[in-house]
């Protein structure tokens, strides 16, 4: 299957960033870089046995979360997926608490009970990753409803990927958000695969953004490897949502830089297509756009330090107490 990268289809200028303030650009770069490094480190830790269960790296897709979350305020909500580290980082997570969670420690966001697939943070208004594909979509929709009932101007982003868009809850939720004009942005990270199934084999119509209008919700496509483009479009959708003008479906086209999870070599992926996407690596694109080497280096050094601190914190943290755990169970 050929999944040409977005650049080949996009007519937008991608190398300039008119109108985006530098702190935002730098913040997005920070999150892209932090996610990239975090994921690579997690893969190492997985190989060392410090991380168990499923680990689904967000490598290659970092710009989507970074761009989208840059359009949010801290009090806005997100709902995430099994491939959720990028969302969590871009929503402002403390890497120490994240790493502790992913390594199952008592000091983690969820006391080591959730792990990678269930990380959430009340403090960050991060409603949680989800082990059920599509599971976060109705929850995000409901968060939108809760906002409407409480009459605040918060918004919600539901992150999910192409595979989830073939599940019934996606259609139902779009439809519901359309009826109630909920402040929800449906951010479809089209990475062109659900495990090994290419999107062309999972639907007869690959225009996933087009499903929005079918349910009364505007649908747009963006280059998911360009954080600036994701940011701009999300910002508009967020503005509409805050004004009470309802939901938006944003399809961000992107690509995994590897297999579905840490143990999947992804041999079914066409190497040339993958190479073409890697040529448009979101990290490199963003670095190029920033230009300022010194600022870039400062960010990277800061991230490296944070990351090492996180790994150390996780390694030194205690496991959850079995006795305490058992004591908490009601018979």
């Amino acid at each position: 299957m050929a999944h040409p990268p977005a650049a080949d289809r996009s007519s937008r200028p991608t190398e300039a960033s008119p109108g985006i303030p530098e702190p935002i650009l730098l913040g997005m770069y920070r999150n892209i870089y932090a996610t990239r490094r975090f994921e690579l480190r997690c893969i190492e830790l997985y190989r060392q046995g410090m991380i168990r269960g499923y680990l689904h790296p967000y490598l290659g897709e970092e710009a989507v979360a970074a761009g989208a979350c840059a359009a949010l305020r801290p009090q806005d909500y997100i709902a995430s997926t099994h491939r959720g580290h990028g969302h969590c980082i871009s929503k402002g997570a403390d890497l120490r608490l994240m790493m502790a969670e992913i390594t199952g420690k008592a000091t983690g966001y969820c006391k080591g009970r959730g792990g990678s697939m269930h990380i959430s943070s009340k403090q960050l208004n991060h409603l949680g990753a989800n082990g059920i594909v599509g599971g976060g979509i109705p929850i995000a929709t409901g968060a939108g409803m809760g906002i409407k009932v409480q009459q605040t101007d918060q918004v919600v982003i539901a992150f999910f990927s192409d595979g989830a868009s073939n599940n019934g809850v996606f259609a139902e939720s779009l439809n519901l958000a359309g009826i109630y004009q909920l402040p929800v942005i449906y951010l479809l990270e089209n990475n062109h695969y659900a495990v090994s199934t290419p999107i062309e084999c999972a639907t007869g119509c690959c225009d996933l953004a087009g499903r929005g209008p079918a349910y009364g919700v505007p649908g747009i496509c963006v280059d998911g490897n360009d954080a600036r483009e994701v940011y701009r479009e999300t910002l508009q959708a967020v503005a509409r949502a805050r004004r009470g003008e309802g939901p938006t479906l944003i399809e961000a086209s992107t690509y995994r830089h590897g297999g579905h999870h840490v143990n999947d070599p992804g041999l079914y992926m066409n190497p040339e297509t993958l190479a073409a996407w890697k040529d448009r690596d979101p990290l490199v694109l963003m670095r190029r756009a920033l230009g300022d080497e010194a600022k870039i280096r400062a960010i990277e050094e800061q991230v490296e330090a944070e990351l090492e601190a996180a790994v150390t914190f996780a390694a030194e943290s205690p496991e959850p107490s079995v006795a305490e755990f058992l004591a908490g169970i009601q018979d």
Binding site: K111, S121, G128, P138, T141, G142, G146, V149, L176
Partner: protein, 323 residues
């Protein structure tokens, strides 16, 4: 005290809680203008407006999932699934999301939602509108399950369910909506997890809940006139289960029977019987008896429909078998 109908008692609970707490809102199919198929929510949209009394399309999975999300951001949603049979469409949202969120999040988040639904046979509605499926929720850690039998309990328990911070599955019975009973004029709340001895007795304990409570009381009255004194314990809440009240009663009478409308195989009765054996073996004068629904889907024809669920005679017979 005023006599009101079960459905009015439910409405009163919703009304009082919506009045008290602006974070309570209700969602479901045709619950607004139409007031719901069983007329529980009648009039509420006029009082609280369409922002808090929300008609939904027929998208059970997602609007139940919405309740989870709304609860997570601070609301107290009450969602209506018209028949418990349709709750099979929302099991993912209940079992994998609502029930697990607090645990998964390490206690960061709570899901204070109520899923109101309705079950049971008796109106010729056939196999997909007559099930008793509480056992499916009873088995899932993280859920509370409430099944009131009287208007009094319905009102007091629904208020407690709405105020509870955990997801509560609140199961009504289609044959109860039009039943009448007295409820206090002043506001009251009945704590979850407390069984109620609906009739004290000496010779045997019947443990039951929901509509079957009424049949058990009938059976107990019939037995009373034969000199047999049966205690009827109405569980009201299945989880948390009020073991204390059950065990105290069984220790007193020495004989126990569990009665429910749901199919016997894998029903809640087996769990309670096993618990009694584990915790009160020496106090039991004989095996715990289960009188329950037949292991069959419920048919349309009324005669065979009735044959599926325990009758007053079945209960009387069960008690006699025990003694």
């Amino acid at each position: 005290m005023t006599d009101i109908m079960y459905r009015e008692a439910l409405r009163r609970a919703l009304d009082e809680e919506m009045q008290r707490d602006p974070l309570v809102f209700i969602m479901g199919e045709t619950i607004a203008e139409r007031g719901g198929s069983y007329k529980v929510t009648e009039g509420l949209v006029k009082k609280y407006g369409p922002r808090r009394v929300v008609d939904t399309p027929i998208a059970e999975a997602s609007f139940t999932g919405m309740a989870v999300g709304a609860a997570l951001v601070g609301c107290r949603p009450v969602v209506e699934i018209l028949f418990i049979d349709f709750a099979m469409l929302v099991m993912d949202q209940i079992v994998n999301q609502a029930a697990k969120y607090e645990f998964i999040s390490g206690g960061q988040g709570k899901v204070p939602m109520v899923l109101r639904t309705q079950g049971g046979a008796g109106n010729g509605l056939a196999a997909q509108h007559s099930q008793s499926l509480e056992a499916l929720f009873y088995h899932i850690p993280g859920l509370k399950v409430v099944m009131p039998a009287t208007p009094h309990d319905a009102c007091g328990l629904l208020k407690a369910a709405i105020r509870d911070d955990d997801p509560v599955i609140f199961i009504e019975h289609k044959l109860l909506y039009m039943t009448q009973g007295p409820i206090p004029d002043d506001e009251y709340v009945i704590p979850l997890g407390k069984a109620d001895i609906k009739k004290p007795g000496r010779d045997a304990t019947i443990i039951t809940y929901s509509y079957m409570t009424l049949k058990c009381l009938e059976a107990a009255a019939a037995l009373e006139s034969e000199g047999i004194s049966v205690e009827v314990v109405d569980l009201r809440t299945l989880t948390p289960l009020d073991k204390e009240t059950i065990l105290a009663s069984v220790r007193r009478t020495g004989r126990a029977m569990v009665v429910h409308e749901a199919c016997k195989r894998g029903g809640v009765g087996g769990d309670i019987a096993a618990m009694l054996m584990e915790e009160a073996y020496d106090d039991l004068d004989g095996p715990v008896v289960r009188v329950a629904g037949k292991n069959t889907p419920v048919p349309y024809n009324v005669r065979i429909e009735q044959a599926c669920v325990p009758s007053v005679e079945d209960i009387v017979e069960g008690v006699l078998r025990m003694l």
